[in-house]
Amino acid sequence: MPTVLDSLNDGLHRAFAEDERVLLLGEDILDPYGGAFKVPRGLATRYPDRVFTSPVSEAGLAGVAGGLALRGLKPVVEIMFGDFLMLAADQILNSLTKFGWMYGGPLDVPLVIRTPMGGRRGYGPTHSQTIEKHFLGVPGLAVLAPAALGDPGALLADAILRDPGPVLFVENKLLYLEPVRGAAHLPEFELEAHTLPGDYAPAYSLRIAGAPPPTLTLASYGYAAELARRAALQLAYEHEVFAEVLVPTRISFPGNAFFDDLLIPALRQTGRLLAVEEGTRPLGWAAEVLARAAEALGPQLRAAGRVAAADTPIPASTPMERAALPQIEDIVAAAVKMMRL
């Protein structure tokens, strides 16, 4: 089974092969090293004129990509660690996402900024964070996050080739070594891929195979969705709680049919929502999901909750880091508690 890393690498290679306007810029991306997490491995060897290993300049890189995109090329920028995105934040907020709108628009800015995000590897407070929440409310920015389901590489290739941009593509580090699972690899589940109207980014639903209708909806993305899937198994086998797991790959909000077409109808059936994410709890993706659910369902929403990281920096030491980040048992415990409501 290919891993998420293999799939993303393949997606980059496919995009490069399909459109010669696609370029890659980033730090330490030349072979044989092939990038800090190896996602672009092999590209520099195959396409030496289209891969620009760069100085350590995140803001400048994002800005250069903006100029390349305005002039008709399709740059992909690798930011080595998601934590470094803040150095590029001004370019994202005040240039890349404004070009397409503020000049009277529409104006394409076809660029993808991809970055590894997340903890559980002991990298400490500045190399372990999940900070995409700071970018979820930026008008004009698509934020995508693959899970270990479906075809992460196709999602990346579509973002590069088909999106008028700009796109922030968030790759959780622990996902890289996860196998990409399809229905054949998940016999305990009924896995369904959902194509949402007007969107190339699919969403997935997982239900326990042969179980009664679910009474709880888990919503999650990225590696947290993998934890939610494993929690759903435990809930079924150890607690007889049957949950469905809904996993979007588009996590930004405007124009995202995931909520109206998938999540809200699911909640009309279950009435219970547990949103799971790896970022810190306040004002994050889960908070917005809960707010939308409450607005849409009113009293039909019997119970709603979040599992997220502690509202502190992420410690390096393994037991402390474990305690700070959401674990499968936290999801199970929150779900069991919610079932009493």
């Binding site: 400048g60 390349l68 000049y103």
Partner: protein, 299 residues
């Protein structure tokens, strides 16, 4: 490309001057809203540099963009309309004074933000093999922004044909250069191996050939260059916010007015004819913009 003659240069300088004077004069009448940064006193920079660009060359400008836009060939009515928030403005009323784009011209009000975009645009044109150059205007105050130095480094590493034009009016909003800038301006570029030329003049005939040489050099040998133009801002930073002593501004106006300097080269009748024609053009553009409808609120 044949150099523009003295009459055409005067016309270009005067067009910017009258546009900007109209903006300042009419702000009080309430027809404009928001902010503006006029180019009065600096006209020779834009005209001297942009006289050399060709179709397809890219220009990045900043908050003080009206003069650059007009020298680029931008439409006066559309710029007036943008400042009025009209649907027919350059940016449909979304951008306002600092955010305009037309053809290959782009401006942004975030200081320094355009410097990597300009390097990227220059690199794109080089990779596409179009032969187009990119010009990026920044002010002396913008030399304080870190992203500029990332941009210079990458432009130099990747041989991006971008001309950074520093318009040093020795002030940033209210802060004099002495309080904001350490060291040397050309050395900043030279440290990255970027050749820099420096001129202290408001005479368009002095800027024109130097800019022309630099641009010709870039077309023959693509890579970044810098042109540092020491210039004078006669007006307020925005509107009515000039903190400098009036005598200082008066002295600058007396000694460094690009229009006075260049007008001396024309016969009085010739000059008056140009001025009459431009006055009529600016008045007509202003009236046309004023008559246009406001946009629908949700556009």
């Amino acid at each position: 490309m044949s150099a523009p003659d003295n009459a055409a240069l005067y016309r270009a300088l005067y067009l910017i001057r009258r546009f900007e004077e109209t903006v300042l004069e009419e702000f009080a009448s309430g027809v404009f809203y928001g902010t503006t940064h006029t180019y009065i006193g600096e006209e020779a920079d834009a005209v001297g540099v942009l006289s050399h660009i060709r179709d397809g060359d890219v220009v990045f400008s900043n908050h003080r963009c009206h003069g650059h836009f007009i020298a680029y060939g931008g439409d006066l009515r559309a710029l007036f309309a943008e400042l009025m928030g009209k649907a027919g403005g350059v940016s449909g009323g979304r951008g306002g004074s600092q955010h305009i784009h037309w053809k290959d011209f782009y401006s942004n009000g975030i200081l320094g933000s355009t410097t990597p975009a300009a390097a990227g645009a220059a690199l794109a044109e080089k990779l596409k093999g179009t032969g187009a150059l990119t010009v990026c205007f920044i002010g002396d105050g913008t030399l304080g922004e870190g992203v500029l130095y990332e941009s210079l480094n990458m432009a130099a590493l990747w041989g991006a044909p971008v001309l950074y034009v520093v318009e040093n009016n020795r002030i940033a909003q209210t802060t004099p250069i002495e309080l904001a800038l350490a060291g040397s301006i050309p050395a900043r570029f030279e440290a990255f191996g970027i050749p820099a030329r420096e001129l202290d003049t408001s005479d368009v005939l002095e800027i024109l050939p130097v800019a022309g040489d630099l641009i010709a050099e870039m077309r023959a040998d693509p890579g970044p260059r810098a042109l540092i133009l020491h210039t004078c801002r006669f007006g307020p930073h925005s509107k009515g916010d000039d903190t400098r002593p009036a005598e200082l501004v008066e002295k600058m106006r007396a000694e460094r007015d690009p229009l006075t300097i260049h007008a001396a080269r024309l016969k009085k009748t010739e000059r008056t004819a140009i001025e009459d024609e431009v006055n009529a053009e600016v008045t007509a553009a202003f009236a046309a913009a004023k008559a246009e409808p406001m946009p629908e609120p949700m556009n």
